[in-house]
């Protein structure tokens, strides 16, 4: 991680170029996508949710999926097994139908080597029996007509310039589908040939043929999985958009493979009209559910309507889960991520307090949450089985979002022990939340119990990558709770865990570097916390919980922590502790680690502001121990000269100086990557060394002392000039608008007047005076 050295707005003010203008370097703020930072803890699933995976609530506007259910394909394999005999293994059918390249199959057939190419394949064996020749012929044709992109994908092929599936070349001109279908006696094969033809005509845009084939071979009741597939193509060939919607809703309800494709083609504005075609409550509930699957706004009304129509509907559960996820996004995300508290300027002069709006929205969301919660409570008793457990888990989750821990616990306890594994996992997340809110987090037993809850979710991640988001969210909340209890060490390590779980989006963590290990502690830790952290690092008999929170997060080198401890001591003006800490480290640490060599390489006793660019050599061998030792020595001396040197040093360890990295790890004002990850640090920085970092308080104090004690007019001239500089930067550290400047203009002070009168013969004056500087004297 590189330290960011360009702040959003930078006021450049050099003694040599007294240009009172505003220069700002614009650096775009660092941020991740809303979907990446979104928090979600609710991921309970009912059996059958898999086909709905693309429709989980997301902060993205578009829906993407890389999961396609294989349930339909399995059904098709079973249909083949049923047809050709029980000795056939459905996996063998799958291998040929869905995992074998068309060319490979055809070549093997032509070379009469099917048996060798697919050894021990029961499906191939069956096809090769002479009585099954018709089936083999069908498979050969089906493989020949295979196509690549059934689902919509943005990728095209270099060989085609049009979207249309152009398979005319694959069939001989004389091939007659109709004849083939009619001449086939076996109804199983007849229907399959009809399906091949239907799909072929669909891509050839022969709509009437598609509709006709569907009506002849699929419209009447039939149990084959081909029926919903054929219905899908048939629906897309119908010009009446309302009827098309209605048929697509039937496809959506009756098969898995086409669920994403159906929603790609669904006409969203026609829900009302589509409902008029529905034949029964079940169909009406499906149409309403489809509309809800893309609704990013409150959707309780649809949930209520669907419940009335079909109380045990799978879609109803899914939509309830979506609703819980929306509320988690609206309420948790601002609460636990650094995007949470923006105070925003609108326009050039208008100030707009977004914090107030945020509060209004929060209150509205909480009211909505309760409305949803009470509704779910009201229907809970009427539901049963998996649906009941699912709704119970949702109610509990809503209670936790609303901070009603007791109530949440009550519902968590009502989840039956027979609930499916996913709902059990949800229960564990909720028990972890109860523990985080109610238990003594210092208790080893409590910590180890938390670890078992965490671990139960971790164990399921392998099979459901969506759970990474839950872990990211859970650890973020856990970190916050440990922090509230004053345990900064655990809070910091959990915060790192949370970021690591965030789907790899914070890629900075994957290449562990110095600052990754200390970033959280740089913002939040005290000297005492650093001692506790080092003790944990060194501990040999860690508890399971400690082992868990340390894995992947604890620094490999104790000196990383020592460096931070010394720096915190320095920020607190505890020079002795800083010295003691730095001196216990390898003295070449600052040459070998982090960015010290790049940013800590100038003489800290020459104020940066008085140097011309060409005078800066960047070859100073900076050693933190030696530097602190020198400060201690200068303080003890307490002479005019020693105070002047101390003042220069404190000027240089401010953000304006050449040794700012003595005090801070990055030079930012709220827009960098690390500010994004660890939060804006400005308020902390303002407090470093009693306000020296931005307002030069310590530097000014020592310049004042030097001015008072010195008998040397050249030293006095230097101190006077630098007091002016300190005043200037102090004044403009926060200033801002023209109106405020008019109300409280910068005043140069008597030091500058003296510089231009009493000290005008000194070498310092001769070197540094200039007309613009003089213009500050009114």
């Amino acid at each position: 991680m590189e330290p960011k050295i360009s702040p959003i707005f930078m006021r450049v003010f050099s003694s040599f170029l007294f240009v009172l203008s505003v220069q700002f370097t614009f650096a775009c703020g660092w941020s991740v996508s809303p979907e990446t930072s979104r928090l979600a803890l609710f991921r309970a699933q009912r059996e059958g949710f898999f086909k709905l995976t693309p429709f989980y609530y997301s902060a993205d506007y578009y829906y993407a999926t890389n999961t396609v259910s294989s349930v339909d394909q399995e059904k098709n394999c079973l249909e083949w097994k049923k047809k050709l005999g029980n000795s056939i293994n459905p996996d063998d059918v799958r291998k040929i139908l869905y995992e074998t390249d068309s060319e490979q199959f055809q070549t093997a057939f032509e070379n009469k080597s099917l048996k060798n190419v697919f050894p021990k394949n029961t499906f191939v064996d069956a096809l090769l029996l002479s009585k099954n020749k018709a089936f083999l012929n069908y498979i050969l044709l089906a493989k020949k007509l295979e196509y690549g992109n059934v689902e919509y994908t943005k990728w095209e092929s270099w060989d085609q310039t049009e979207y249309n599936y152009d398979n005319h070349n694959q069939l001989e001109d004389t091939f007659d589908f109709e004849k083939k279908i009619k001449s086939t006696k076996d109804s199983f094969l007849k229907q399959r040939y009809a399906f091949l033809a239907l799909r072929y005509y669909f891509y050839a845009q022969q709509k009437q043929d598609v509709i006709q084939l569907y009506n002849s071979y699929f419209a009447s009741e039939s149990n084959t999985i081909l029926k919903p597939w054929a219905l899908y193509y048939n629906a897309l060939c119908i010009d009446d958009k309302v009827l098309q919607n209605y048929l697509l809703s039937k496809v959506f309800n009756s098969c898995e493979e086409k669920s994403f494709a159906v929603l790609q083609h669904y006409n969203w504005k026609l829900t009302e009209e589509t409902l008029t075609l529905a034949q029964n409550d079940e169909e009406r509930s499906v149409i309403l559910a489809i509309e809800g699957l893309r609704n990013p706004a409150p959707g309780l009304k649809s949930i209520q309507e669907i419940y009335e129509l079909s109380p045990n509907s799978l879609f109803l559960s899914f939509l309830i889960g979506r609703e819980v996820n929306k509320l988690e996004d609206w309420i948790f995300t601002p609460q636990y991520t650094s995007d949470g508290a923006p105070s925003v300027v609108f326009g050039d002069t208008d100030w707009y307090n977004y914090g107030k709006v945020k509060e209004e929205n929060f209150n509205k969301d909480i009211l909505y949450l309760r409305e949803l919660e009470y509704y779910l409570i009201s229907i809970r008793e009427q539901t049963s089985g998996e649906q009941k457990d699912y709704i119970t888990a949702a109610i509990a989750q809503l209670c936790f979002i609303d901070d009603q821990v007791e109530e949440g616990k009550k519902y968590t306890d009502l989840i039956s022990n027979k609930a499916n594994a996913s709902i059990q996992m949800q229960k564990n997340i909720q028990l972890a939340l109860v523990s985080l809110k109610q238990d003594n987090l210092k208790d080893e037993k409590v910590q180890n119990q938390l670890y078992t809850y965490f671990d139960s979710v971790e164990n399921l991640v392998e099979t459901d990558h969506g759970l990474f988001k839950n872990l990211y969210s859970l650890y973020r909340i856990a970190s916050s709770d440990f922090r509230k209890k004053g345990d900064i060490v655990t809070a910091g390590l959990l915060s790192m865990k949370s970021d690591i779980k965030n789907d790899g989006e914070y890629s900075g963590y994957s290449n562990s570097s110095f600052f990754n290990y200390i970033g959280y502690f740089d913002r939040n830790a005290s000297v005492k916390d650093m001692d506790l952290l080092m003790a944990l690092q060194q501990k040999t008999d860690k508890t399971p919980f400690e082992k868990y929170i340390c894995s992947g997060t604890i620094a490999p080198n104790v000196n990383y922590y020592k460096d931070l401890k010394g720096t915190i001591a320095f920020r607190n003006n505890n020079l002795e502790l800083a010295y003691e800490t730095f001196s216990s480290m390898p003295q070449d640490f600052w040459e070998k680690n982090y960015e010290y060599k790049t940013y800590l390489n100038e003489d800290p006793f020459t104020p940066k502001i008085l140097q011309k660019q060409e005078e800066r050599k960047f070859d100073y061998r900076f050693n933190k121990t030696d530097f602190i030792a020198k400060l201690i020595q200068l303080k003890r001396q307490n002479t005019a000269n020693s105070n002047l040197q101390l003042a220069h040093a404190y000027f240089n360890v401010s953000y304006l100086g050449n040794s700012w990295m003595m005090t801070a790890y990055d030079w930012t004002s709220g827009a960098s990557y690390i500010d994004y990850v660890y939060g804006d640090n400005t308020e902390n920085e303002k407090k470093y060394q009693n306000g020296n970092y931005y307002n030069l308080k310590m530097a000014k104090m020592y310049y004042g002392k030097a001015l008072k004690m010195s008998r040397n007019s050249n030293e006095k001239a230097m101190a006077s000039l630098m007091i002016f500089e300190c005043n200037y930067y102090d004044h403009y550290a926060e200033l801002i608008t023209e109106e405020e400047e008019a109300k409280n203009p910068f005043k140069a002070g008597k030091e500058l007047v003296n510089f231009y009168s009493i000290y005008k013969t000194t070498p310092t004056f001769k070197r540094y005076n200039c007309p613009l500087l003089k213009s500050f004297i009114n």
Partner: protein, 380 residues
């Protein structure tokens, strides 16, 4: 937050005498960036009114497919039918920087060849449509049904004759890629390979403003001409940006010199959109924002181009919330005038220079008005 606040200092434009030079009769052009180009009378009439002679037409994009690990075409234009407009077309291909970064030399060689072949295929399709339309007009002349004893010619043979007359022969090919220092070497290599395949056409590449200003860093692409894109200066997701499409003030900070080593055509912005922010977090771009900002109950106007939502609103499938800020980004006519002055002041313009607007869309064109747009061209 410290030092985040500024007072704005208005920069005045000092236009040198160069801006008073004689105006040129530049080649009037537009960019067409949609996936379907089916002109009808309305489009023909716009072309005629503004006297447009040329269009950059986006034929397809090329993106890097992470699964197959190769550059693949994306969003190919499905139909090019110009109706009665007679325009010179420059096929334009957008290539993502990722393609250039991730492809090896072998892939770049094959990419150049594949692109050329695809451009040829799409060109052929375009000519076929034109031949069909010509043939139809010949076989069925105006009011043919009123003619007694009308006898139609054989459509297929007329079409073939018309088709034979049309050759795929583009004078220029435009390659659009926001290359970086890192991808420069690969990109320039790709351009050279493309050039080899088009000995008789000019290869033009888009030049973004940073590539123009920092030419020594970005390098000068090995091509015949550049198309300088005088817009999209900052990212729309930046809350502090005044207008990410561009301002003349920003343009003047980029066009600081006139010694770019390539002959340049000029592209100017002619579009608008609205950008939504929640707090200072970017929420997305709304291209259809007119109805939203006209809702005075739910939306409060806080400045010329900024609006704040007063209620939660569902726009399509986008959920905007109370307090969200909408920044409408559109460049005013005065700003475009200033931009033209800045460009003319530094960059050599002649009668061969193409001046193109991004992009050809009835909504944007009617927004500015055909007369104003004609005046923009005339200002060169």
């Amino acid at each position: 937050m410290i030092m985040k606040n500024i007072f704005f200092i208005m920069l005045l434009f000092v236009l040198s005498a160069a801006s008073c030079e004689n105006e040129h009769d530049v080649i009037r052009s537009f960019c067409y960036w949609k996936t379907d180009m089916y002109f009808q009378e309305a489009e023909d009439s716009l072309v005629k009114k503004m006297d447009i002679k040329h269009m950059y037409v986006r034929f397809f994009d090329v993106d890097y497919n992470p699964y197959s690990k190769e550059p693949l075409p994306v969003a190919t234009i499905s139909n090019i039918s110009l109706n009665k407009s007679n325009l010179e077309i420059t096929p334009s291909i957008f290539i993502t920087n990722e393609v250039v970064l991730k492809s090896d030399t072998k892939q770049l060689d094959s990419l150049a060849a594949r692109m050329a072949r695809r451009i040829g295929q799409i060109g052929k399709r375009m000519n076929d449509r034109k031949a069909e339309s010509n043939a139809y007009n010949i076989v069925y002349p105006k009011d043919y049904y009123k003619q007694k004893d009308f006898k139609a010619l054989d459509y297929d043979s007329v079409k073939k004759a018309e088709s034979d007359k049309l050759k795929v022969d583009f004078k220029e090919i435009l390659i659009d890629c926001d290359w970086t220092e890192k991808s420069q070497k690969n990109y320039f290599y790709l351009l050279k390979q493309i050039k080899k395949l088009y000995p008789n056409s000019k290869i033009v590449a888009t030049i973004r403003l940073w590539q123009y200003k920092y030419a020594s860093k970005a390098g000068i692409p090995p091509i015949d001409k550049g198309l300088l894109m005088c817009y999209n200066i900052t990212k729309p997701d930046d809350f502090q940006t005044k207008n990410s499409i561009g301002t003349s003030e920003e343009l003047s900070q980029y066009i600081t010199h006139g010694d770019y080593k390539l002959k340049l055509d000029i592209a100017l912005p002619l579009y608008s959109w609205a950008v939504a922010f929640r707090g200072n977090q970017f929420k997305g771009i709304l291209s259809d924002y007119d109805r939203l900002i006209q809702d005075t109950i739910k939306v409060k106007k806080i400045s010329d181009d900024k609006y704040v939502l007063q209620d939660d609103v569902l726009v399509g499938q986008t959920y905007l919330r109370n307090g969200d800020q909408i920044r409408v980004e559109k460049i005013s006519e005065e700003e475009i005038d200033k931009m033209i002055s800045i460009i003319k002041n530094k960059i050599k313009i002649d009668n061969e220079t193409k001046v193109t607007f991004f992009s050809f869309d009835k909504k944007y064109i009617n927004d500015y008005g055909t007369e104003n747009i004609s005046n923009f061209y005339a200002r060169f």
